[in-house]
Each structure stands twice: as structure tokens, then as C-alpha cells.
Symmetry: D4
Subunit: 203 residues, 8 copies
Amino acid sequence: IRVGYPEVIYCENKTIPQIREIIKFMLTKNNNILATRATKEMFDKVKDLDNKLKYNELGRTITLEVNEIKKTDSYIAIVSAGTSDLAVVEEAKETASILGNKVKVITDVGVAGIHRLYARLDIIREAKVVIVIAGMEGALASVVGGLVDKPIIAVPTSVGYGANFNGLSALLSMLNSCASGVSVVNIDNGFGAAYNASMINQL
Amino acid sequence: IRVGYPEVIYCENKTIPQIREIIKFMLTKNNNILATRATKEMFDKVKDLDNKLKYNELGRTITLEVNEIKKTDSYIAIVSAGTSDLAVVEEAKETASILGNKVKVITDVGVAGIHRLYARLDIIREAKVVIVIAGMEGALASVVGGLVDKPIIAVPTSVGYGANFNGLSALLSMLNSCASGVSVVNIDNGFGAAYNASMINQL
Amino acid sequence: IRVGYPEVIYCENKTIPQIREIIKFMLTKNNNILATRATKEMFDKVKDLDNKLKYNELGRTITLEVNEIKKTDSYIAIVSAGTSDLAVVEEAKETASILGNKVKVITDVGVAGIHRLYARLDIIREAKVVIVIAGMEGALASVVGGLVDKPIIAVPTSVGYGANFNGLSALLSMLNSCASGVSVVNIDNGFGAAYNASMINQL
Amino acid sequence: IRVGYPEVIYCENKTIPQIREIIKFMLTKNNNILATRATKEMFDKVKDLDNKLKYNELGRTITLEVNEIKKTDSYIAIVSAGTSDLAVVEEAKETASILGNKVKVITDVGVAGIHRLYARLDIIREAKVVIVIAGMEGALASVVGGLVDKPIIAVPTSVGYGANFNGLSALLSMLNSCASGVSVVNIDNGFGAAYNASMINQL
Amino acid sequence: IRVGYPEVIYCENKTIPQIREIIKFMLTKNNNILATRATKEMFDKVKDLDNKLKYNELGRTITLEVNEIKKTDSYIAIVSAGTSDLAVVEEAKETASILGNKVKVITDVGVAGIHRLYARLDIIREAKVVIVIAGMEGALASVVGGLVDKPIIAVPTSVGYGANFNGLSALLSMLNSCASGVSVVNIDNGFGAAYNASMINQL
Amino acid sequence: IRVGYPEVIYCENKTIPQIREIIKFMLTKNNNILATRATKEMFDKVKDLDNKLKYNELGRTITLEVNEIKKTDSYIAIVSAGTSDLAVVEEAKETASILGNKVKVITDVGVAGIHRLYARLDIIREAKVVIVIAGMEGALASVVGGLVDKPIIAVPTSVGYGANFNGLSALLSMLNSCASGVSVVNIDNGFGAAYNASMINQL
Amino acid sequence: IRVGYPEVIYCENKTIPQIREIIKFMLTKNNNILATRATKEMFDKVKDLDNKLKYNELGRTITLEVNEIKKTDSYIAIVSAGTSDLAVVEEAKETASILGNKVKVITDVGVAGIHRLYARLDIIREAKVVIVIAGMEGALASVVGGLVDKPIIAVPTSVGYGANFNGLSALLSMLNSCASGVSVVNIDNGFGAAYNASMINQL
Amino acid sequence: IRVGYPEVIYCENKTIPQIREIIKFMLTKNNNILATRATKEMFDKVKDLDNKLKYNELGRTITLEVNEIKKTDSYIAIVSAGTSDLAVVEEAKETASILGNKVKVITDVGVAGIHRLYARLDIIREAKVVIVIAGMEGALASVVGGLVDKPIIAVPTSVGYGANFNGLSALLSMLNSCASGVSVVNIDNGFGAAYNASMINQL
Ligand SMILES: Nc1ncnc2c1ncn2[C@@H]1O[C@H](COP(=O)(O)O)[C@@H](O)[C@H]1O
Ligand SMILES: Nc1ncnc2c1ncn2[C@@H]1O[C@H](COP(=O)(O)O)[C@@H](O)[C@H]1O
Ligand SMILES: Nc1ncnc2c1ncn2[C@@H]1O[C@H](COP(=O)(O)O)[C@@H](O)[C@H]1O
Ligand SMILES: Nc1ncnc2c1ncn2[C@@H]1O[C@H](COP(=O)(O)O)[C@@H](O)[C@H]1O
Ligand SMILES: [Mg+2]
Ligand SMILES: [Mg+2]
Ligand SMILES: [Mg+2]
Ligand SMILES: [Mg+2]
Ligand SMILES: [Mg+2]
Ligand SMILES: [Mg+2]
Ligand SMILES: [Mg+2]
Ligand SMILES: [Mg+2]
């Protein structure tokens, strides 16, 4: 990974010994660490390596902050639709934080109850960049895109069933957003959205 | 077609002589007539059959009202997103009208400029049933569904390009709507939505 | 949720503690409750909260009726093809009931044995609105649509294998129905169909 | 081609000179000829080769009967849903005829008006093998399959629009038919269905 | 099921008590029985009902022959490509047998070793109707179709991985077969193919 | 449109009279204008409205600059793979320019000749934000993403044939980019990418 | 382009002036030239540039041989199924030739008439590398792969209709070939197959 | 399998007794053996058959070298992107080795860190044929194809999530590679790539 500060490990498809080895090596370099898609079992089998290692169960991240991170003044707003999208929200939040960003999280503002979104609109509008996380029909990205004049990074989630086709409906929705200023990352890719938002927030 | 009043012809894939023959025969029965997906050329080649035949160019419909139609008191609201959806709007409007429904049309209220939707919300809420017509990401169906407590019939349109896949994005969006009370008809099927809405409006 | 009477919880992707918390909170408001996609284990872990909580195993619903529900005079007909569609039938029936509708259920009338459908046609025709639930090729929606002059809400189910692609065949069939008056909800969405039908039945 | 009697040419993607050449050569062998997917222009440019060459415009076939064909006693029933499926009906009929089969054609019996199918049921039941041709949701194959105890060869057609995806909806429907005894050929493949039916009819 | 002789149960998505109930009821009618997609566990929980119930583990069928079945003189050839297709072969064989057909099974003749197919060609050519079962690229159907002048019912199987997409590659292959006389049933549908072949074999 | 400066018209699916009407109205407001997806014929039929109207044939844009646009100091780099992607490049360039951005365009640096990309790397690295436009396999986005530490907005193009499926291959590639910092807009959406980049460039 | 000898132009999506410009420039370098996907009109508008420019109408290639090409001793066999695949055959042949390879072309050996393939098997087996070109179900690649012990490059073609989905059926077939030694290039990509085969032939 | 030396077993969908039987039989013929897609459990249940049987856990292969294999002088380079692709790398390596090829493996050179690829370029360029294994967006195949003048066999892997669709993104990428000289095998098909490469390496 090119960024200086945290080293990043993508744990999916890696064995626990592999992950242990990588973390051990990273610890020698005295860098902050972010591991994504880490199961609880993975964490339990590596946590003895350093007692500052932290696990976010919902977000499936392991983090280690050896160097204190100075946060930005401007912030990233992470906006999400339903409670089922929270895993992706947490992955994005942990990523943005360890990359040194101030983050504000606004959840449960799906378009079926749009008044809840309006109640939080000011906090979204004052962000420097906005991450919108939504499954099912992903309409939230367009609605936020229409109301907020900031770059929007949309994350479709695989939440839903049937004709949702594991996130395809939200993905296509977001790619076809009629609101300008919306770009899209892979389904469930909270990490990628936050990495992207961090770059923009720190320009 | 089962409804007593208008006879309906679906012109796609039919030759002009076939359509002429069908209309001629219908005229003998003294019924109202609705022909959908009719090209201008088709109309020009049949209009001599009866001088009451009317053509809606945008909606591609031919209609004939031999028996005056008494309209309902309650009405169907037809709500659409962009100017490119107007062909489907017109098909729905012509269908609903000749089936005897009062219709109110609210266009250009796509979610990218959601304030325009709010400005027309009262008129939508007072309808007995609502048709929502939208292409691209089809978010309008969910937003209207969240704001209005009436049955919503959503029509995805093939308007868009690229990852829109000829209406697939709007179709999947609408099928996965997080707002309750939304059901869906085929892409560009303004006729079907109006037929359905008419049944509900006349219950 | 906008409807006054029951509160609705969608249990998929929620943890048992989350569901317990939501139900506890709802109980303080003295409302009826409907939880869909609830596993037996979920029910076992929340049933101590109120001894009126009921579980429908096939339909995967938890319901609580604290306020007696006055049922409509008109009724919703729920029509289904095979025994494998019964889970969706039960979800629809529980939803329609707690929303205050009289419901009549007609099962096992798939088109391979169409005489069984004819035997029950009167009861379907007298409904105010009809829900048709079918998997595999979903032909039942078109056949009922052709025989019955009422609004039809079609629910494709994921029952089948191979080229059924988890409900895609029935979904596409129903969207392309040659019978007028058929609208469609998501694959396996018995809840959505019943919510929709309830709105129409109570117009 | 293995069958002794007619030689078959598939004209799609062939140039007129190529087709002329093939027919010329076939004429030397004194066999019957069937050319499918032939445009009017193709016919006009080859008809001078033999004045017995006949063109079926709707079915896009060219045929030549130099040897009188003795027809079977048993017959193939070709059953179709809408007027838009007639091109495929004609291709199947021409193919079956030149292969020496007695054919009975029953059109316009789509499931939206199922009484019309019942009116013709006897003639279908007495066939030795049945070809069912339908577009849109292709429900006719299942309905006929449920009512008739003969092998059914189903031909999905590309008739329809939107979520029909050029015949995919009818194709999937037919492959998932809940009625036993239905097998399927390619979209719009009237030739293949008739060839198949002919083999069965002449067993 | 319409055929007089065996009653057929499709066990997928049915509970063991449901299946027990159905078999019990069938036993009272003194008919032969065929149950498909039955797990070993299902069989173990119903075998006490009648000691003539037999289980085919590979084919996942339960059969009961109370009335001796007189077999046809002509036979159905079941031809398959690889050892992984054998489950479907067995389902087809059991179905064809209990429907009263003489059956000859030719396995392991996939096109990668085409000489093995040639070695068995005579036996295939003398069948009245041929079932070809193949996964992966499904080429066997076309090759057999080109060599044998009998109706071919092709069954794509879900055997394979990657771009096989659970049988889609074989399904599309078979639908597009360049050999005439090939019709297709659903992926893995050994039952449907045999039912169909039986109809033809007994014409 | 929310941005103060230029008004934007999307010409696809609009008639020439409609476009004339919109431009006429915009001219009264003395704003800059950007029309995308405009055919040459459209331009010819509106250019009399104001002699400052300019047409970019390759990019299919009409622009009008009534208010001089002050350009940013930082710039947007637009990087593209092949000559066939130039239409999208031009749409992006015109959009970014009229929105007030300095733009540098680097074309013909596809990964098949990666040395050409290296030769231009400095100019890309010094941009504030980078737009990468590529068809076929879209690998360029990942390669630039790996070499440049700036936010990347990737635009898949529909250039290619066969398994390209009108841009699907590049779209999926870009969504799955192994390089961090890449977000994606719709196929061929040069406008959207530039709008997005402009927001970031002007933060 | 990396290869020393011919320069290659891919004409699709290029304007005639662009192509003229490129050829003019290439002529100054005294290299052989290959242009693929060139229309007749393109050729007519560039042929004045050099009277050695040749056009292959079926293969849509323009070639120029300024330096005599010494051909390899070993040869590439190009094997194809039907007459409709000939355009791809010609593109492959022209490419292989100008790259300096001896080529032998074997056409019309589709698996529906497999004896024709056997008749030509020796010539295929003696090639150093084999290109197999087939549309529809693409079975030819597997059959040749099973009979010939040489590397096979398979080219699916878009020949077919319906469930062929523009070459998808042949593509998936070939990717899933049960015969070892088969690799695949894009649909209709005769150029790519020949380029690849040339590399192997000249190892 | 046609090659003389090792016999190959594809273990997926085979039972342990079946595999035991096959290996036992092969041992009698004194040939080398390669079994792919073998689970650890399979190996444990067959390893008593011969104490030279070896298991590669990551590559899921069982091998037996009874006849010493003389390796080629030229070598196959196996190049891969990420650590998650290693299973496919190992399958390819074991296959190529037992087929008698010298193999050099270059891993962890994905395009996000392209300098690592450059560091190993010499070793790749000196190979006779190159296998490129990559998941996600599969860009590595195009980059290597652009830098190396050898035949490239690309293997898409199913590594990734979301819009990766189990390897579809890498598959389409590789099929659409803008670099000449790239052909493709099935997703995760390390065996097929190595078999193919071996043929070329031993020409
Ligand atoms: N089975 C279901 N399928 C689709 N949507 C549902 C289902 N059950 C409940 N819902 C919707 O989910 C909402 C509750 O979601 P939640 O707040 O996440 O529990 C309800 O108001 C319904 O609109
Ligand atoms: N409409 C059709 N659809 C599919 N296959 C056809 C059709 N018409 C003819 N064929 C097949 O194409 C073969 C002739 O192909 P060809 O030699 O290219 O003219 C015939 O033997 C038939 O098997
Ligand atoms: N090429 C384009 N692709 C996608 N969206 C566009 C494009 N050009 C303009 N738009 C959007 O379309 C809106 C104008 O749409 P309309 O009011 O229908 O002309 C603009 O505000 C943009 O958000
Ligand atoms: N028919 C073809 N299909 C795919 N790629 C091709 C084809 N013809 C040429 N190419 C490739 O396109 C490159 C030239 O592209 P361009 O510079 O855009 O003309 C050549 O070097 C080939 O790699
Ligand atoms: Mg915005
Ligand atoms: Mg609502
Ligand atoms: Mg009806
Ligand atoms: Mg039947
Ligand atoms: Mg045959
Ligand atoms: Mg980067
Ligand atoms: Mg071979
Ligand atoms: Mg190369």
C-alpha cells in the first residue's frame, strides 16, 4: 500500500498463520495497522502480538494505533440507509479514522422515512466529502446527491434478497444516479470508499 | 381484452393491413378504441376509417371515443422524473382516460431536484392511486412511496445509457424498493400501469 | 413505518439482541407487532417478553395482537401454485391479517392441474384484490389475470432449480404477463404483496 | 443434412450469390428444398432458377416440392399465443409440411383468453405431438402441457419488450414448466421444433 | 400427475412429515410411486411405511413397484458424458423404468474421448428416443445429434465450475445445437427428460 | 441544476424543438450553457440563437460562454487509453472547462504500450484529481491508480466488441480495481466524471 | 505495436481521415501493414495511397506487403464449422499470413456432419497449432481438442440467434471445454487468435 | 486423458471410494498420477495406497511420481497478482511439473504495485510461455501482455467480492485484453492453463 501511515491487510482468503506473519512483520516497522474483513477468530489468534490491537466486530476490522493520529479539521460524513448496512459503515469509519480523518456518522436515514434525512442534512452539507452507503434500491445516493453540493462516494451494499441479486440493484442504481457528483465503488467496499474520501478530504 | 368499454390493440409487430382490419371490425361494434405503440405512419394509414380517430404522437396511441366516457371523481396521479419519460407518461394518461378515469399528471419531479416533488406533494397525496414513471436509477418510486400512503404502481423506463442496460437498473431498483406499497410493471409499460391503476381507482 | 396500527420489523441481518431491543421498545407503545423473516431461534429468545407473542414457523413471522383488529368485510384472496410456495403464502397471510384484512387462502392450484383452479374460481373472483404466488415459470399469474377482473399482485418465488436462477424465471414471466391488471413485487416478498393488497382492500 | 427428402438451407448470414449457388446445386439432385430465414429480396433473386419455387413471406421460407410428398395420417398440432408469433408459426408449418407431416394450426389461444384454448382443445389432444409457440411470459406451454397428454415441443419467441430481454422470459418460463412432457428449442426456432416434431410424428 | 400408473412426488422443499403423509395416502391407492430429489434421511424416515420402498442413493429417488410394470419392446438410450453426470443419469433411468420403458444406459462417452462414443453408437442408433446428459460445454448433445437420426432430449447438468455458471454453459450450448432434432429440458432435470422420452417411446 | 455557473442540458431523447426552447430560455438568464449528447443536426438547428454557441463534434457538446470563466490553478488530468475513447475524453474536457477547471489531456497511453504512460506520468501526478477513461478491459484505471496518489475517477467506455458487452467488461474491471483510490461512474459518462472531478478540484 | 514486421490498425470506431493519416504515416516507415475491421468504403477511400494495398471483403482486412514475407515451414491450421463463420476465418488467415505463417484452412466441418471433420483430420493433426472457429454451441473446439494433440486456440463467433446471445453460448462452451489444451479469445476475434497462433508457430 | 505420461483425475464431484478405485487401477499401470481439486480428507483416505503419493494442500493436488520426469530446458513462467491467487498458482505449478516442464513462479506482482513486476520482468521475458493468474480486475494479463513478447495464457480467478461476480470481472477483462498474444482459460483453471502451456513449451 502506498500511503505512509497505516499498513493495510485484506484478510479474506488468507489463513490465520499468514495474517499472524504479516502483522508480526508490520509491528517491527512501528506503523499503524488496519486489517479488514477479519473474523473474530482471526483476531483472537493474533491479539497476543500486541495489546493495543483492537477489534471492531461489526466492521470486521483489526486496528493498531502505535503513532497517535492527528485528525483533520474538515470531516467526512458517512450516511447510511438501514441497520443492515452498519457493517459497511463500520468498515468505512475505521478506515477513515486510522487514515487521520475526522468522521461523522449519520445512520438510519433511508428514503422510506426521508424526514429523518432532512433532520440531519446540515451536518451532511458541512462535510468536505460524503460517503453514502445503501442496499436494496440504493436510492439514498441520488437523494443525498440532489441535496448536497459535495463529492459523493456511493457504496452499494449486498443487503436485500431476490431481485437484489447480492447488491446488483443498488450498484446499477448508483451508477445511473440522475444526481451529478456521485461516483461509485464496489459492493460492500466500505474500505475503498473511505480511502477515496480520505484522499479528497486531505487534498 | 376483457373490459367492456374500450377495445385495445397492441400495434407492435403488427402490419398496417392487420391493424386496419382490426379497427374496421371494432368500429362495427360501436366500442371505444385504444391502440398502443402505434407509429405516425400507422395512424396516417387508418385515420380515414373514422374522423373521430385521434393520434397522440408522443404517447404513440390512437384513440376513438364513440361513447362519451363518464370520468371518476377520484383520480389517478401520474408522477414522472424527467422529460425523457414523457412518452410513457402519455401512454399511461391516454389509457387511464379512455378507461374512464380522472387523471392528474405531475412531471419533472426527479429526485435530483427533490424540492419540485415537495411542491406537488399535496396533489399526489390526494390521488386514490399513484403511477410513478422513472428511468435511470428509478429512485423516485421509493421517495414517493415513502411520502405517500397510497398504492404505488411503478413503471421503470428504458431512459438512460451504459449500466442502465435498457431499463434494468430502474426495474431492479423499483422491485427492491425499501418503501412499502410499491408494485412494478414491465419496463416502459405505461399501458399496464394505467390499466392496473384504473382497476384500483374504480373499485 | 407509516401505518398507525402494527409496527413492522424485518429480522434478516439483525442480531437477536437488536431484535429484542426493538420489540421491547415497541411493547412500551402498546402497538400490534409484525416481525418478518424471523427464525425459530429468534422467537425462542424473545418470547419471554410478552406471552401473547406468536410464531408462524412456515411463514417465519412473529406477531403480537395487543389491540383487537377489526377485519374488513371485503377480502384479499391469496392464490398459490405448489406446496413449496407455502412459506411465502404464510408471510402474506400473517401480514394481511395483522393489517386488518379478511383473507382467503387458495393453495395448490398450479397450472399443471388447472381444473383445481377452476374449482376455486368463484372465491377468487369475489375478492377485492388477489395475490398470486408462484415459482418455477410463474404462469399462474397470467392464467388468474386472464380469468379474474380484479387487481392482481404477483409474487414470484425462488422455488425451483437450474434455469430458474433463484426466482428469475418467475419474475420475468410475471413482468411480461400478457394478462392486463398484473403488477409484481420482489421475489419471495409476501410481506410487500400483502401490504400493497391491504392498501387496495382498504381504499 | 441427414434426412433423405428435403435439403435445408439456413439463409441468415449468407449472401445472395451463395444461396443461388447452393440452390442451383440442389436442383441438380432433384430433391425437395427448404430454405429458412430467407428475405423477400433473396427469393426475388433466386426464383428464376425454378418456377416451382415458392415464398412464404411471413414465415420467411422458400420451398420447392419436386417430389410429391405423401403426408402422414397422424398430425402435428401447432398452437400459438398471439398474432405476433405468426412468423414462427409459419416457419414451423412450412418445415413440418415439406418433411411430410399433416399439420393443424391453432392460433390466437394465449392464456389471457383461455376460453379460446378450451374451444380448440380436442383438436390439440388428438395430435400425435404438439408444438407450442409463445412469447412474452410463455405460459401457454405450461397450460397446454397440463391439459394434453402428448409430447410438447415449446418454442419461446422474441415477441415482447423490456424485461422480456428478446425472448429470455419465455425461454426461462418454458424450461421451468411445472407441467411434465415439455421440452424446449431455441428462441424463434420454428424450424427446429418442426424438425423434432416430425421425427416423433414419423416414429 | 396425469399419468395413471406411478404417482410422482418432488421432495425438494418438502418436510419429512409432508412426504410421509403423501406416501401414506398414495399407498392406499395401490399405485406405483416415484419420489425424486429425496435425501437418504427422507428415505430412512419413510421406509417403514412399506418394505417394498427402494432408494437409489446416487439418483436420489424413492420407488415403489406394487404393480408389476410391463416394459416396452423399444427402448430409451440414456447417454452421458462424465462420471459427475451420473446422478442425473440415475434419476432419468429410475423415472423411465417405473414409467414402463426398457432403458439402455451408455456412460462415460464425453467428446474428449470420442472413440468411446463410436464404440457404443449402434446401441444408441437402435433406440427409439435418446436422452443425452452432459455438463461443462454440453457438446455431446450436438455430436450425438449429428450421428443419430432419432429425437434427442438433451439435459444440461450443473457439473463444472467458473464460467460454467451452474449449468448455464451446457444449457446455452444445447439450445444452440447445430444438429437438428435436439430439444432441451431444465438443468439437471433427469426426471423431465425421462418423462418426455417415455411419452415418445410409448406413442 | 444546482451549480450556479453553467446550465446543463442532456440532449439524448429530446427533440430539436424542445432543445431550442430550453436554450432560448437559458439565454434570457445570461448563464453559460453546456449541452451534452448533442448531434450535429441539433447544433445546426439551434446555432442561430446565439453566435457564440460552439459545437465539439467528437465530444457531441454544445457550449456557450457568455461570462468569461476564471480557471483554477490546480488542474484535472484526463488520461485515456485508445483513440476510440476520444469521444468520452472530449465530453469530459468540455465539461471540466466550462465548469472553470484547468485541464490537461493525456491520450493514447493504454497499457499495451505502457512506456507511453510512464513518459507522461509526471504531468498526471501533479494533477489534483485524475480522470481515467478506458474501454475493453479497463486496466488503465488500475495501473494509474497504482502509480498516482491522487483521487481517480474511472470512466469505462463502450469501446470494444464481443465479450465486452457494451462496456460491461471495463465497468466490472474498474469496480474491482485492486488499486485504492479509484471510484467509478457510468459507462461513457464523461460528463459525470468531469462534474465530479470539478467538485474535488475546487474544494 | 511490438512486433517488428507488420503494423496493425484496428479500424472500428476510427474515421476515414484518421485511418488515411495512420496509413500514410506507416507508408513512410516501409513496413508491411494490416488493418482489421475495415469496411469497403474505408478501403475505397485509402487505396489511392499505394497500389499494393489489398482488400479482403469477407475478412474486412486491408493488407500491404512491401517486404516479401518468408513463410514458416510448420503451419497453422484454421478449422471452422459453418459458412457463416467465414468472415472470422478470413480475418485469422490474413493476420496469420502477413505475420509470416504458412496457413491451411479447413472449413465446413461442424459437428452436425462430423464425418467431414474426420476426412480432414490428418491435415489438422500435422499443424503446429490449431485455430478452431465456431459459433452457435461451439462444440467443434471440444471435438477437435479431443482428437488433436496440439495447442488449440478457440474463437467463438457471434453467429446464431436467440439463446446464442451474440456469441455468449459459444464463448461459455469453449471456456468449459472438457478437452485439455483449449484456450479462448474474444468473440469474433480472428485477429487475436492468429496473432497468438503465430507466436506459438514461430517459437 | 490422451497424454502418455501422467494420468489425471478431476476429483470434484467424485466420492472417496470412486477416487480410491481409480488410483488403485492407475497404480497397476505404473504411470505418474495427478489428481486435482482433491481435499485433504480425500488424500488421507488414499495415501495408504502408495507411500510416494504427495499432497499439495494449497493447490489441492495429489501427485505420484513413479517414473522420474526429465524436465525441459526452456521454462514456463507462472506470474500471479495477489496472495489469494496462490491456490491456482499451485495447481498450475504441480500440473506443469508433472508434465515435465521446468517452471518459474513469480508471485505478488499485481498492478497496484507495478514496480514489483518490473523487478521480475527479465525472468518472465526469458520464459518460453507465460501463465498469468489474477483475480479482481485481472489487469495483470494486459500489462504482462504489453511487456512480454511470448504467448500468454491468462487464468482469471474467483478472488474478490461484490461486482467481481465470482471471477466474471477478471474473465471479461482478460478476454478483452488490449494486448495481443493473450488467450484465456476458465476461471480458476490452473490445470488447463498449465496443460496448455506444457504443450507449447514442448513443441
Ligand atoms: N419480508 C419483508 N420483505 C421486504 N421488506 C420488508 C419485509 N418485512 C418488513 N419489511 C420492510 O422493512 C421495514 C422494517 O425494516 P427495519 O426497520 O429494518 O426492521 C418495514 O417497515 C417494511 O417496510
Ligand atoms: N431457422 C433455423 N434455425 C436453426 N437452424 C436451422 C434453421 N434452418 C436450418 N437450420 C439448420 O441449418 C442447417 C443448414 O445450415 P447451412 O448448411 O449453413 O445452410 C440445416 O441442416 C438445419 O440443421
Ligand atoms: N452526458 C451526460 N450523462 C449523464 N448525465 C448528464 C449528461 N449530461 C447532462 N447530464 C445530467 O442531466 C441533467 C440535465 O438533464 P435534463 O434536464 O433532462 O436536460 C444535468 O443537470 C446533468 O445532471
Ligand atoms: N480485430 C481485432 N480485434 C481485436 N484487437 C485488434 C484487432 N485488430 C487489431 N487489434 C489490436 O489493436 C491494435 C491497434 O489498435 P489501434 O492502435 O487502435 O489501431 C493492434 O496492435 C492490435 O493489438
Ligand atoms: Mg450533489
Ligand atoms: Mg407509501
Ligand atoms: Mg385480470
Ligand atoms: Mg402434458
Ligand atoms: Mg440427429
Ligand atoms: Mg492511487
Ligand atoms: Mg487436444
Ligand atoms: Mg505480449
